[in-house]
Symmetry: C2
Subunit: 622 residues, 2 copies
């Protein structure tokens, strides 16, 4: 029978943990004694265009990751540049950047021989060789700037010890081995120089639209700023369009980073100011300074946003962002987040964003619409929850009224929560059936908010529903977290970028306040009258006095899944479309989208199950 | 790299459904054209002892299944006797005996050639060849009584199309092909002669205890009953022990089935009558007859129970069931369930149960304890639920008081619900941590209640908790199902058989009625005052008037998971142990048992992936 000789020795495709651990020990022992093949990239040096995405991993820029994504192969190719290799390094991924339960590649050296292997860390941070080697080493190459490691990883390996690479944020982790190690198990992961970097690994595979010949550029850059020697700085700089600048379309933008500061410039945004003010003061300084004029708070309309690892942003060829012309402010605010954990002093920076624009207006103006939850305390999260869900609705009634018959096309999305946010997803539903994910991030971090091009443009028609669900973690909090603007209050928002622009700026919801009042009454009566929820007290105060037992938690969840909603179907934050928007029924879902079944690579037998020794020569001893 | 040539061509170990369906079509096409090997059992005929368990599948006894269980191999070996083979048959398993989403072996013939294959049916009942062939044909043999098919199936195949064979009830299904079929796909599963049979496939592997030399037998048998020509009959017959019969221990019992009636006798129980009555009338007739004396309702203490497919029941060698002697009734009631769907007329039957007993008393008396829910309407299931859970507790406080320091040993268990029951499980918890499953049936059927020997004896000590959870389906009901004795009321009970016998007969719970009252008030106030739950109305009436929206359903679940309980920690159904048993806190569970990870057989490559043609000669044409 085919394969008979291997039966019993093949690793089982489904997990049998004890066997796996034995296998792992065995493979590591082999690694120490065997000398096999030196894997080295022969001949051609990969071109930079082979790895279009690049991000520094550590604040010093010692480790620099470049990568590309092959959707046909469902795999990522990584090129890791190690500028100053000592005795090896760790690189990998984990749920939220922790070093426990992480999926890792490890290059380690005992001073004479070097080994490369796919490893995993357990809940205590102890490293183990993975019996299924899913990071495939493709090459290693010494160059003047350092060592290049090339390796490949399928999105999904079906190995339960491995990280599943999905759309959205990926928390990359790295560690630097500064002493020789004699085995993988000897690495004390808590004692090494280590850190994390967030990126969107699975960049969309967009085709770059044709650019017009009359395209001009404008750079909105911080003018020779001395980066403060503090871990976190938000820098604000006001720029101004020329007088009587007519209406143009921004059709593309990209970051301009001062050379050497690649690891310090974390993210940047350009905001347009409100048209109702004729002028705005000049300013160039920290955004939280007392010297900052208050009027700058009216510069909140996003024109462009960039975060580490992001590439140039191209608008779809039918659309551009209108700027200039009557009814639009001449004033722009650049905000730069400098992340300087090593508190370098005296670094000068002139980074910013380069806008590409044209006077030849495209067919459609692009617009931004806000989906999710209204900023109101009626939507709250009990304390001590590890994954509490809140959902905001854009109902069929609102889209029926506000969208054109031909629909709109959503092409990009920026997800937004405050610090308790852990996941965000928006789903398009039609006739009660979920049809398509608009944007989802299962590893969302409030520290990494970028405008992401969608892999597929989403068409939304009148009568469709857009349902946005955020997952929150409040394990470190002792009282309820209510909705609102404050940093310790929460938000659940998806800013979707779409065309053609409509009057609909806001399509969000919150639970009906009358039903919330019934909830407080119920808590009052049910819990042995221990608490008095006086009705004259504010909603946050009432939430703060709820005794959070399992019943009160469960009933709040049930309330949010049942009570009617108040809809904000608005032309602007203050002006609603005409209609009855209070006590609206919750949209019902009769059919949910299925979880995608991950595609698995070929059977494990086809990959080497031992670490691969490398011939890198002797590594330096300190 | 090793294995490079195989990458991309190996079958994926994890499911990729589209690929699977293409493969399935391909395999079936091969089946029609290929002629491979004739698999036939050469030489020795298997002995009856090779297949210790036997059950007729259909009411005529045309199909008879024997099997054995190999725990080291984690596999079942089946021997299927087909008494009158026409053009093939289907045999398989499904969640609850349905022919959709079933896992099947099919033997089919076009009149010339016969084929055997592992197949599955989709949600519409259409058959497909399974790309992973997990029923292994071991042999086929013609004998005077019919065709014997021998095949083997691992408990778990890790093929998502396959049924996972677990402890508890398995719903076997069969179908008879009465016309030639040219392919598997041509079988119209709804048009064939078909049925289901419930068995416990994974019988425990018990070692038979040594039996004493003074062992005697007593047969409690129906005296030459004419089986009524009705689908369902419960037959009652009163028997009597000899005068001044001293205390004995029953140490074993088995069924005695009148030859030819194997497919009609569905289950039998022997009950002992209550000791408080000196005498009971004789009776021999249907249990639901108006002629049946009322006093027979006092004969409810189970002495022995047998159901189709069950073998002899042996008590552990340290224990026996006391009968005879002072304080114990001389009267026994035999109850036989005749299942006669083909309404045979005039069949005579003298089946019953043979008790094996000894005067040499064993060390311990065995006892029966009732776990689960009190029979009270406060525990209710909303209508239209597909899987609603109710949980009954035997708390640490009760076991602390009632169990001896050395603990008790549970060796057998009989699960019991009324018709809405779908699953039952009892878990042993100690210090808030779940330790061991006492008995679980994930395919429980109220039509198949047998006393099952546990695969592992469970030791229960003072302070342990026994938590029994039942899952109900009320999709076909339009009003709430409350707890109680009636056939449309529900129960959740596990009768555990244990030794040494203690005074504790009942360790069950129900939600505190005061908290349920608060629930009704809450429903009243929350739902726009549509309903008036007048407090003078009975609990069932209050449940019947609840408007069952998602909120009221969710809150009832939350209530049952939160509210304190009323404990019945009883010496008999009326007498409680001394102590405070009202408004007791719900036991908390800090650590749950993990779901067992199924062990998978060797990689799919080692099994043939095509159906196996058989040489059976031409089958008859009608």
């Amino acid at each position: 029978l085919p394969g008979m000789q291997t039966s019993g020795s093949k690793p089982c495709p489904c997990p049998s943990f004890k066997l796996r651990e034995v296998a792992s020990m065995y493979f590591t022992m082999i690694a120490v004694f065997l000398v096999i093949l030196v894997v080295a990239l022969q001949g051609s040096v990969p071109r930079e265009s082979d790895f279009p995405y690049k991000v520094p991993l550590d604040p010093q820029g010692l480790l620099e990751l470049s990568w590309n994504v092959s959707y046909p192969e469902q795999a990522v190719h990584f090129q890791l540049l190690v500028r100053d290799l000592q005795f090896g390094l760790l690189f990998g991924m984990s749920d939220r950047g922790e070093f426990e339960n992480a999926d890792l590649v490890v290059l380690w050296s005992d001073g004479h021989n070097s080994y490369f292997g796919d490893a995993w860390s357990d809940a205590k941070g102890q490293l183990h060789m993975d019996s299924q080697q899913d990071y495939q080493l493709l090459g290693a190459r010494r160059a003047p700037e350092g060592l290049y490691l090339l390796f490949r990883r399928a999105f999904s390996t079906c190995d339960p010890k491995d990280y599943l690479i999905e759309d959205g944020t990926v928390h990359l982790i790295y560690g630097i081995l500064e002493k020789p190690v004699h085995s993988l198990q000897a690495i004390n992961i808590s004692a090494i120089h280590r850190g994390l970097q967030r990126v969107q690994l699975l960049k969309p595979n967009i085709t770059i639209p044709e650019l017009p010949s009359d395209m001009k550029t404008m750079e909105i850059r911080a003018p020779d700023v001395v980066i403060p020697s503090e871990e976190t700085t938000y820098w604000c700089y006001m720029a101004e369009l020329p007088d009587s600048f007519p209406k143009h379309h921004i059709i593309m933008y990209e970051a301009v980073i001062t050379a050497g500061n690649e690891a310090l410039v974390h993210h940047m945004e350009v905001f347009q100011c409100a048209a109702e003010f004729d002028s705005f003061p000049h300013y160039n300084g920290p955004c939280d300074s007392k010297m900052k004029p208050d009027r700058l708070n009216y510069c909140r309309h996003v024109l462009a946003a960039w975060a580490m690892g992001a590439q140039a942003f191209y608008y779809p060829e039918e659309a551009g962002v209108a700027f200039g012309g009557p009814g639009s402010s001449r004033y722009l605010r650049l905000e730069i987040h400098y992340h300087n954990p090593l508190v370098f002093k005296g670094r000068r920076d002139s980074s910013g964003i380069r806008l590409y624009y044209t006077a030849t207006l495209r067919r459609y103006d692009a617009g931004i619409m806000e989906l999710g939850l209204v900023y109101t305390p009626v939507m709250a999260i009990p304390p001590g929850e590890d994954a509490f869900l809140l959902t905001g609705y854009c109902t069929d009634k609102c889209t029926q009224l506000a969208l054109p018959a031909a629909g709109i096309r959503i092409f990009a999305s920026q997800l937004h929560t405050h610090p308790a946010g852990r996941k965000v997803v928006t789903v398009l539903s039609r006739d009660g059936r979920e049809r398509q994910v608009v944007n989802a991030d299962g590893h969302y971090s409030p520290h990494f908010q970028e405008i992401r091009m969608l892999k597929e443009v989403v068409a939304v028609f009148p009568g469709d529903e857009l349902i946005t669900t955020c997952t929150y973690n409040t394990e470190d909090r002792s009282r309820a977290t209510v909705g609102g603007f404050g940093i310790l209050e929460e938000m659940c928002v998806n800013y979707v970028h779409y065309y053609p622009r409509t009057q609909l700026e806001l399509c969000k919801s919150a639970v009906d306040p009358g039903y919330l009042h019934r909830y407080f009454n119920l808590v009052n009566r049910f819990n042995d009258e221990e608490v008095c929820m006086c009705p004259q007290v504010s909603v946050p105060q009432q939430f703060f006095s709820v005794p959070w037992n399992t019943f009160n938690r469960d009933v709040l969840k049930s309330l949010y899944g049942f009570a009617p909603i108040s809809m904000h179907c608005n032309k602007s934050s203050a002006i609603r479309f005409p209609g009855e928007w209070e006590k609206q029924p919750l949209p019902t879902t009769t059919e949910r989208l299925r979880e995608p079944v991950p595609r698995c690579p070929p059977a494990p037998g086809s990959r080497p199950a031992t670490p691969v020794p490398l011939n890198l020569g002797e590594l330096r001893r300190d």
